[in-house]
């Protein structure tokens, strides 16, 4: 029998970086967006819109501090209203950033190098938006520091057995680690900006944050260790954060909350909505700032595939909820299922099934994965669907639990809606500023994708005596 020689099939996929780039062109293209590109009228106009939305948030919070949480639609039995819905939604969106920066780094997925910077920024801004909600939901946010253990004259300590206290630790750790991860990723690029800026004030500001980075081989060696270890630590962290958020529900006994599937189902949902947000931001940014060489079709298609996969896990979660409603034989669980399909909020549930399960199935077709318009639209639908999922979990479960006499309805007020819209404004305001003041793509990690960045073994060997 003849021996067959295996010839590796050529990689027909679109490359992660367009051909013809050198270290200089990559550096120029990305740093010029920050240093050279004039501020356009479109940027100013957009900024005015999102900044006014952010001010709506400030106004809502100001009024809230004066009047209290009575301005919201919350009541008994529905004590967790929009605040918790939005908190869970925003923190879920943040998860894609850490997934891209940490988990894909450990898996050596090189395509992450061009989207990790702004995905991490997205994480930070989303977690900042999320953090507002539980804080103001406490009713007296000026006493929120009581959640942290510190010696005090009241001789009081937090109850460490409470999922709400776990949440404080999980979310604040997540914010801190995301911030330092993002910052150490930025240091070498800040040094690039320092060396390229012509304005002496900018040189000083970028120089201050670059901390004197000079690209020494010793520094890079320790830097890579630290980066890898941070990625290793952030990987279980990101999986734990939404798990802990799901414990806020799963530890309670309310039908629709008290299930063991919640942790994995919440994490998958978080990554699902996070990738939808990444696509919603990446598609316009790459065409406005001419970054199609670095954020290629390959990135969009791969993100769409991740979305499809996590969407199927979420669909499995919905299916299991339905199955358990029937199989458990618990009348409360089966009523919950009936209530979702036939109760007063049935349009939310049907909308959720359509936007999270039905519509994203078109991503099986390559045509929809590579068409930016369709992909943007599907991502937007998924974001709406994931928001509806949190609405269903929080509000529909609370509205009808065990006893008919305690059934109720929740109607969001204009303050609920304005606060929610305000956080979207805050998120976009931060994004708007970020793309103009920091390199939105990691320059040094893109340089590493070029073939000339790799030293061949024999080059080092032949100099040996």
């Amino acid at each position: 029998m003849a021996t067959q020689t295996q010839i590796p099939a050529p990689d027909r996929r679109v490359p992660v970086i367009a051909p013809g780039h050198t270290f200089s062109t990559i550096t120029d293209k990305i740093s010029n967006i920050v240093l050279k590109r004039p501020i356009s009228l479109g940027w100013i106009f957009g900024f005015l819109i999102v900044f006014s939305m952010m001010n709506v948030l400030m106004m809502c919070l100001g009024y809230l501090f004066v009047k209290g949480t009575g301005i919201w639609g919350i009541n008994i039995p529905i004590g967790w209203g929009f605040a918790i819905v939005n908190f869970v939604w925003w923190i879920g969106i943040g998860h894609a950033g850490t997934l891209i920066s940490a988990i894909l780094a450990l898996l050596r997925q090189t395509w992450r190098n061009s989207i990790n910077r702004f995905a991490e920024a997205m994480t930070l801004f989303a977690v900042a938006c999320a953090g507002i909600f539980p804080l103001v939901h406490t009713g007296r946010p000026w006493l929120a520091y009581w959640l942290f253990p510190y010696p005090n004259t009241m001789n009081y300590w937090p109850n460490f057995r409470s999922p709400l206290v776990w949440d404080v630790f999980a979310v604040s750790t997540y914010l801190t680690i995301s911030l330092v991860f993002w910052f150490i990723g930025l240091i070498p690029d800040l040094a690039t900006l320092r060396d390229r800026a012509e304005n002496p004030l900018l040189q000083k500001i970028y120089g201050l944050f670059a901390m004197g980075w000079r690209g020494s081989a010793r520094h890079w060696h320790r830097y890579e260790s630290a980066y890898l270890l941070l990625a290793g630590l952030a990987t279980p962290l990101v999986l734990s954060v939404h798990t802990v958020v799901s414990f806020d529900f799963a530890v309670g006994i309310v039908p629709g909350w008290h299930t063991t599937i919640f942790p994995p189902y919440f994490v998958a949902g978080a990554i699902y909505s996070g990738f939808a947000m990444v696509l919603c931001l990446a598609i316009p940014i790459r065409s406005i700032y001419g970054l199609k060489d670095f954020i290629t079709e390959r990135h969009l298609e791969t993100s769409a595939k991740v979305m499809l996969a996590t969407g199927l896990i979420v669909a499995y979660g919905y299916f299991m909820e339905g199955f358990m409603g029937w199989y458990s034989g618990s009348q409360f669980d089966s009523f919950l299922l009936w209530n979702r399909f036939h109760g007063p909020y049935k349009w939310c549930y049907l909308g959720l099934l359509a936007s999270n399960i039905l519509i994203p199935q078109v991503l099986w077709l390559k045509k929809f994965r590579v068409s930016t318009g369709w992909l943007w639209l599907i991502s937007f639908v998924v974001l709406v669907g994931m928001w509806l999922e949190r609405f269903i979990i929080v509000i529909v479960s609370l509205s009808r639990d065990f006893v008919n006499s305690s059934f109720g309805m929740y109607y969001p007020t204009k303050w609920d809606w304005m606060t929610f819209a305000g956080t979207i404004g805050m998120f976009l305001t931060f994004m708007w500023l970020f793309v103009r003041v920091l390199p939105m793509i990691s320059v040094f990690e893109l340089r590493m994708l070029l073939p000339e960045a790799h030293v061949h073994e024999n080059a080092a060997e032949e100099v040996k005596p």
């Binding site: 201050l208 690209g215 010793r218 890079w220 790799h454």
Partner: protein, 193 residues
Amino acid sequence: MSMTTSRDVTVYESPIEGSPSYGMMAEFDSAEELMAAAHKTHDAGYQKLDAYSPFPIEGLAEAIGFHKNRVSLVVLIGGMIGGISALALQYWVAVITYPTNVGGRPYFSWPSFIIITFELTILFGGLSAVIGMLGLNGLPMPYHPVFNVPAFAKATENKFFLVVFSSDPNYDAARTKAFLASLSPRMVAEVPS
């Protein structure tokens, strides 16, 4: 005043006559040239040298004789401190100083303490990775003699540099300069201190 060698290497004289020098710098065009030069310089007996590149190059640190990297040890210690102190705090609060009877369950209900222990392990470990990396690298250090060479601004863009420090026992301004020039660099310059 400058002189040229075979491959049009510009060799600059010391900018200030008789000033103490920090070392001798050579500039290269590619990662491969820098790697080869780093190996040759190290093999020639120079101990105190450093290489600079716009991105991490695998094996470069080893080529200049840098093997010890204590970042992972710092992270291990930091993570353990975080985990142990979190568990100790929860034990002290729940059992000793503020015991709360919840449905007759034991005060030391450790399964419910796992999450905060885990989170603080990650928090302390992650912060030690950052602070340890910066601290061991001696950063922040806004001023460094290598920045005095104007061409070094390209070290964060597309050029590669090798510096032999004057503290090296084998360092001799003229001989080191000639040696670096023989590695076919783009230029050789003395780094003023």
